[in-house]
């Protein structure tokens, strides 16, 4: 067994240990420590193993490592293997997943300390990590899909972690069901690929599409079908609605699953399947436009939200849109680059938000915060660094990746256009604005805390602040490691339109200017008297109501899909199908048998003579019949 298998199995072992032993252990004095040790230790072991595997990859001149664990199924001699594959892209993803994952596990020790489901929490978190590593390490689309579904399951379990609250349980269900819609597309894509190529190994699929002549299947069809799956998992239009609701889970879960890792699975999948998308012009255009529109609309919604986690959730949807924009114009390396920087600063932001919520005894409404900078300084500083990073201020991590995205959105030979740049730039401006708005409302100005919360404000324990500092440092310097350059031999960047090649410097300057403009705008609006924001809000009350209501998309889906489904279920399936047809048939048959028995039962008089007489009659009848027909 090489380290590839061990990377994935370590968190699974953690899940099994904590999951099976938790209820027995927790009441005991050493139980809590055991859960912590297993829950955090095995992900860290996984991270170390990933580093070792990465070292091996480098030593081998970046030739992909591959290992077949066993053959799952063989159909007509074509095997479906559980095989792991470790190349440059996998290395980047696995390092993010295990690295950021380990940090968030450590953070959770402090955050979940007093929760009665402590062991269950770590079991689920480890389960998530296992499936995420399956997703990232799988060689075949089938293994990827197992991980893809598995992280969905873990996400469901963790969103509904506090399942006693019906609203939170419903949020978990919503996430699961919306994802299922996307998965239908993903499955269809897999079927089409398997029918055409007879294999689901991703390296072979890419090779088949890169070869000339290509396979006898439309790359655009496959690309679009797989992308439908990605819109579900990575929260893009039209299936993004589950992600904001997913904030019902514990905050470290939001950081790990719903910001840093799981939701980026769609971006990873598109980058991994770049062989298909390189030859699918239409699908790529679709991805770019869905991405940029999602980025834009989510950003507009984020501007008007008042729940600290909801702002970050819409921000995540928006940043994922940026990643898909990059993937759509062929800059897969850049998409992964943004995925990588986003993992750091968004995890830092979510964990910072968790620290704020922790300090305020559960308060999430930014209208009831303010003036926290002095009271929880470490949280404030790290949050501010991450905010500057996501806003794209140099030299922080977000600046590098966002600038690259804007550049390729404009200049890529594969679909770069002015409009993509324009919308993306506007979105970048709004991103800076709403993030600094969040920073100001939370940490500056006068305190608007409840008396109860104000009395208990306290900085979080070291296990939380330490993680925040590490992530803030990574958010600050992460951009200097140029991921597109690392990935270039595997995911070459698209060509540049010749007459636009001079536009790079202006775009860099514009990108910085937009970040600063957002900062200044937020400072002007929220830095001064509170009346200014209120007066402005009153002026655009109509727009504000639409944005606060999130464009009423949930209501629209409910009206167009939810209610008709309920109506059909109630009237057609329940009343007509179930009650009338099925119940009716069964009850009718039972009634018929009962009535017949009522009639026939009268023959059972209990008199022996009567039976003998009947036997005689039967005998005579049989004789007579035999006589007549003989």
């Amino acid at each position: 067994m090489s380290e590839l298998v061990a990377i994935a199995l370590a968190p699974l072992a953690g899940f099994l240990l904590n999951g099976l032993l938790a209820t027995r252990l927790v009441p005991r004095p050493y139980g809590h420590r055991f859960v912590t040790l297993v829950g955090c230790g095995l992900p860290i072991l996984s991270f170390v193993l990933t580093l070792i595997a990465f070292g091996e990859l480098r030593a081998g001149g970046y030739a992909p490592l591959s290992e077949t664990v066993y053959t799952w199924i063989a159909i007509d001699g074509a095997p479906f293997e559980i095989a792991f594959w470790f190349d440059r892209l996998t290395a980047v993803m696995a390092l993010i997943v295990t690295g950021v994952g380990s940090l968030i596990h450590v953070y959770s020790v402090g955050y979940m300390k007093d929760d009665e489901g402590y062991a269950r929490y770590f079991a689920y978190l480890n389960l998530f990590l296992f499936f995420m590593l399956m997703l990232v390490l799988g060689r075949s689309l089938l293994v990827l899909f197992v991980g893809w579904e598995g992280v969905g399951l873990a996400s469901y379990l963790l969103i509904g972690f506090w399942f006693a609250d019906p609203e939170k349980a419903a949020a978990g269900k919503k996430a699961f069901i919306v994802n299922r819609i996307g998965d239908a597309g993903f499955l269809l894509g897999m079927f089409v690929l398997y029918t055409a190529l007879g294999t689901l190994d991703m390296d072979r699929i890419n090779a088949a599409f890169m070869a000339t002549p290509g396979p006898a299947v439309s790359a655009t069809l496959v690309g679009v079908l797989l992308f439908i799956g990605a819109t579900g998992k990575s929260a893009q239009i039209p299936l993004y609605v589950w992600l904001p609701d997913a904030m019902a889970g514990p905050t470290p879960v939001s950081a790990l699953i719903h910001a840093a890792t799981m939701v980026t699975a769609g971006v990873y999948m598109v980058a991994r399947m770049s062989g298909i998308y390189t030859h699918a012009e239409g699908a790529s255009q679709l991805i770019a436009w869905v991405g940029v529109l999602t980025a834009f609309f989510a950003a507009t919604i984020a501007v008007a939200q008042t729940d600290i986690k909801k702002v970050l959730a819409y921000s995540t949807v928006s940043q994922l849109g940026f990643m898909f924009l990059a993937a759509g114009v062929g800059a897969y390396g850049v998409a992964v680059f943004h995925l990588y920087t986003h993992a750091f600063f968004k995890a830092c932001l979510f964990l910072g938000a968790g620290s704020v919520i922790h300090a305020l005894s559960g308060e999430q409404d930014i209208r009831k915060m303010g003036g926290l900078a002095r009271k929880i300084p470490i949280t404030f500083v790290t949050f501010a660094i991450a905010t500057a990073a996501i806003a794209g201020l140099p030299p922080l991590a977000g600046f590098f990746s966002k600038d690259e995205i804007l550049w390729f959105a404009y200049a890529s030979e594969r679909g770069g256009s002015f409009w993509l740049l324009a919308i993306a730039a506007l979105t970048a401006l709004m991103t800076a604005f709403y993030m600094f708005r969040l920073l100001w409302l939370t940490f500056f100005g006068e305190s608007r805390l409840d008396a109860h919360a104000a009395a208990h404000v306290h900085e979080s324990p070291l296990s939380m602040t330490g993680v925040l500092v590490v992530l803030a440092v990574l958010s600050a310097i992460g951009g200097f490691l140029s991921i597109p350059h690392v990935l270039e031999p595997m995911l070459p960047l698209p060509g540049i339109i010749a007459q636009r090649s001079g536009a790079h410097l202006p775009i860099v300057i514009m990108s910085v200017a937009l970040g600063l403009a957002g900062l200044l705008g937020a400072w002007w609006m929220f830095g001064g008297r509170a009346e200014r924001a209120k007066a402005f809000g009153a002026k655009v009350a109509g727009v504000r109501r639409v944005l606060e209501g999130k464009y009423f998309v949930d209501e629209l889906y409910d009206l167009l899909i939810g209610r008709p489904l309920l109506w059909i279920s109630e009237h057609v399936f329940l009343r007509l199908g179930d009650r009338t047809l099925i119940d009716g048939t069964l009850n009718g048959l039972a009634g018929l048998a009962q009535r017949t028995a009522g009639v026939m039962g009268r023959l059972q008089t209990g008199h022996l003579h009567f039976y003998a007489l009947l036997a005689l009659a039967g005998l005579l009848g049989a004789l007579a019949w035999g006589w007549h027909h003989g």
Binding site: L603, Q604, H607, L608, L613, L616
Partner: protein, 100 residues
């Protein structure tokens, strides 16, 4: 009327008498006896046919029926005795508890 025919008529009469006994009489013991009569009517016809055909199978079959009839009566008599002890009667019409 030759011997075979006469014997067959006798067998028929035995069987019919037995049948009438089962259908008409109410006493359980008499009913059992009537059944024996019917069996013996059948036995007689078997022996007669065996004699006519010059084959032994029919006669052998009779012994089988004797065994079965003995076994049957060995079970039936105790049942009738138990019933009679419970209800103090041998009237078949007293036992109509399974009326539908």
């Amino acid at each position: 009327m030759d011997k075979t025919q006469a014997l067959l008529y006798l067998a028929l009469t035995l069987f019919a008498l037995g049948l009438c006994g089962v259908v008409i009489r109410r006493n359980l013991l008499v009913m059992l006896m009537s059944m024996e009569l019917m069996l013996n009517g059948v036995n007689l016809s078997l022996v007669t046919f065996a004699n006519q055909m010059g084959a032994a199978e029919g006669a052998v079959l009779v012994f089988l029926i004797f065994v079965v009839a003995t076994a049957e009566i060995a079970i039936a008599i105790p049942i009738v005795l138990l019933l009679a002890r419970r209800r103090r009667t041998l009237d078949a019409d007293a036992f109509v508890d399974l009326r539908g």
